[in-house]
Amino acid sequence: MATLFDKIWDAHVVHDLGDDWALLHIDRQLLHDLSGPHSLQALLDRGLKPADVDLVFATADHAVSSAPGRTGMTYPPGGRLWTALKGLAADAGVRLFDLGEDGQGIVHVMGPELGLVLPGLTLICGDSHTCTNGALGALAFGVGSTEGVHALATSTLRLRRPKQMRVKLEGRLGRGVTAKDVILQTIGILGTAAGTEHAIEFAGSAVEAMSIEARLTLCNLSVELGARSGIVAPDETTFAYIEGRPFAPRGAEFERAVDHWRRLYSDADARFDQDVALDVSDFGPTVTWGVSPEHALPIEGRTPDPESTPDPGQRGAIQAALDYMGLQPGQPIAGAKVDRVFIGSCANSRISDLREAAAIAKGHKVAATVTAWVVPGSLAVKRQAEAEGLDEVFRSAGFEWREPGCSMCVAANGEQVAPGARAVSTSNRNFVGRQGPGARTHLASPAMAAAAAITGEIFDVRRL
């Protein structure tokens, strides 16, 4: 009666530390330019090297410019981090997928793409959206930079077994509804603290029907439910996705691995500390109105009215969010005028996301009042999109086609939304100031973002 999580966790316990604590083996560690240099520097300062350098991989994504023709130094403050990452990765012997090199991209996009992420692995990165990788049936979670040092030095972490939560998503997605809409609605219903101290497993017919890229989007926002990890049991869809990727096992070894991976599922009688089920059939295209991912609304929805909120603390929070976002209580969310559109981030920058956005953009023009960007998640995504002519679709519609990285998702590379400007963004966080001081962020799917770019307002993609 073990859960999928139990099976992976138990198989990785090197040493039981008591009181639910374990020394857990870490099979993969990914580094990026923002937290990677700190972890590597701290490691080398102690006179240590990575315990297993073959399990560690690095790329530059957060603080590098996404401008066409960029180099690592195009954004100078980020250039310092990029230079540090290159130097330290070389000193430590860590394989870096550098700018312009196959494999470079947002760390949570390039990992699955290269086959570095496999079912049953434990995988960490100094980034909270490491949970994305759970889509492949890996136990993947974000760590701080000091925990990162521990993992580099020992290939393990001292961890406490979390509680477990299953989120069953049943039913079929309606027209114009994507994994992004599903997860935003789910967060809206359950709240951003629902999964705190828990590891989440996503299950149910809607998840089983999803492609791996859709599952990556779903798991990406696990941390927005408060959970450090989100996982989907590997299945035939997973195995087909992995086969043939550069770092995936091949031939007989692949078959042997698949045999092993087939055992990775939650037993029928497995118990969860929380078990919730949602019917996704009624979910529509979704957009956030406020400053937390739980501020999610169906596109037909209206902003909340603080007056009708009984709890004074909540009332104040809603009023503050409306003020920050420049919205009125009870206002329909559709129709709000948009200044910026950002299609990118580890939530939605894979090839299927760009195809969905391009299908909407094709034959249209970006509204004159809108600046719209498409930032592919990796060099491989960029090349694939260009091979399919998607870059031309975007460019001729008036979108900017940029270089792979995190870009405006977190604005660590200086690519900010101006104070007071309203952005529709396919990223995962609409926190105060996330896309720049005073920036107003509405989270949505790639298709909804493309629709906003064309119409210049928050718009129901099904009506285009």
Binding site: V14, H15, L17, G18, D19, W21, L23, H25, L34, S35, R46, L48, A51, D54, A63, P77, L81, R95, E101, G103, L116, L118, G126, D127, S128, T130, V143, G144, S145, T146, E147, A153, T154, S155, T156, R158, P162, T192, A193, T196, G226, A227, R228, P246, A248, P249, E253, F254, R256, A257, S292, G313, A317, V410, A412, P419, V432, G433, P437, G438
Partner: protein, 209 residues
């Protein structure tokens, strides 16, 4: 790491839920490692012209330099940036009390000798009220796992024994685990037999470039 044993001092109230790590430290300010304390809580703490907002309690004379922060639920949710902990420490805080925390933030606290305390909603409400009244010093006894409020009410808190020991002794996890390397190596030797594909990355390391 400096051991954390006991702490006596004022507590600054921050009665907001879901204070996320982007609010605690803006990402571009994260790069300025020497001045993290100055950038902490910038959107709440400063006006757009850079002057201090009087509404932010730690800006008020009664709470300046207070070592304890009492916060709303789900404090530190969001990103994994450890600079969030360093920024709060940079302001002079050594402990934060809330009903709940973002998971990664919570773990990061212990890596830095910084104590996050989880208490019930009712307890936090009382602490918040007493902090707001500015009535006097709070006392935190980590060994005994008790927070005592200025009016003398004791609240017991739970903390993992391993984490408590780590804080009390200023223990360094890395040094500790390095002593267990032989255990780790024998686990790995077995794993290489059972899951060879996990380890088969070196041959490909150069050819994929």
């Amino acid at each position: 790491m400096t051991p954390f044993v006991e702490l006596v001092g004022r507590a600054a109230p921050l009665p907001l839920a879901n204070v996320d790590t982007d609010v605690i430290i803006r990402i571009e300010a994260s790069v300025d490692r020497q001045n993290l304390g100055r950038h902490a809580f910038a959107p709440l703490r400063y006006n757009s012209d850079g002057s201090e907002r009087a509404e932010f309690p730690p800006n008020q004379p009664a709470f300046r330099g207070a070592p304890i922060l009492i916060a709303g639920a789900n404090f530190g949710c969001g990103s994994s940036r450890e600079t969030a902990v360093w920024a709060i420490q940079g302001m002079g805080f050594r402990c934060v009390i809330a009903e709940s925390f973002g998971d990664i933030f919570y773990s990061n606290c212990f890596q830095n000798g910084f104590l996050p305390i989880r208490l019930s909603e009712a307890a936090v409400t009382d602490l918040m009220a007493q902090a707001q009244a500015g009535a006097g010093d709070f006392k935190i006894d980590l060994a005994g796992q008790v927070v005592t409020t200025p009016n003398g009410t004791p609240y017991r808190f739970d903390i993992d024994p391993l984490r408590r020991e780590g804080l009390l002794e200023g223990l360094d996890d890395v040094g500790f685990t390095l002593k267990q390397m032989s255990l780790i190596r024998s686990w790995q030797a077995r794993d290489r037999e059972e899951r060879p594909w996990v380890w088969a990355t070196s041959g490909l390391r150069k050819t994929t470039a």
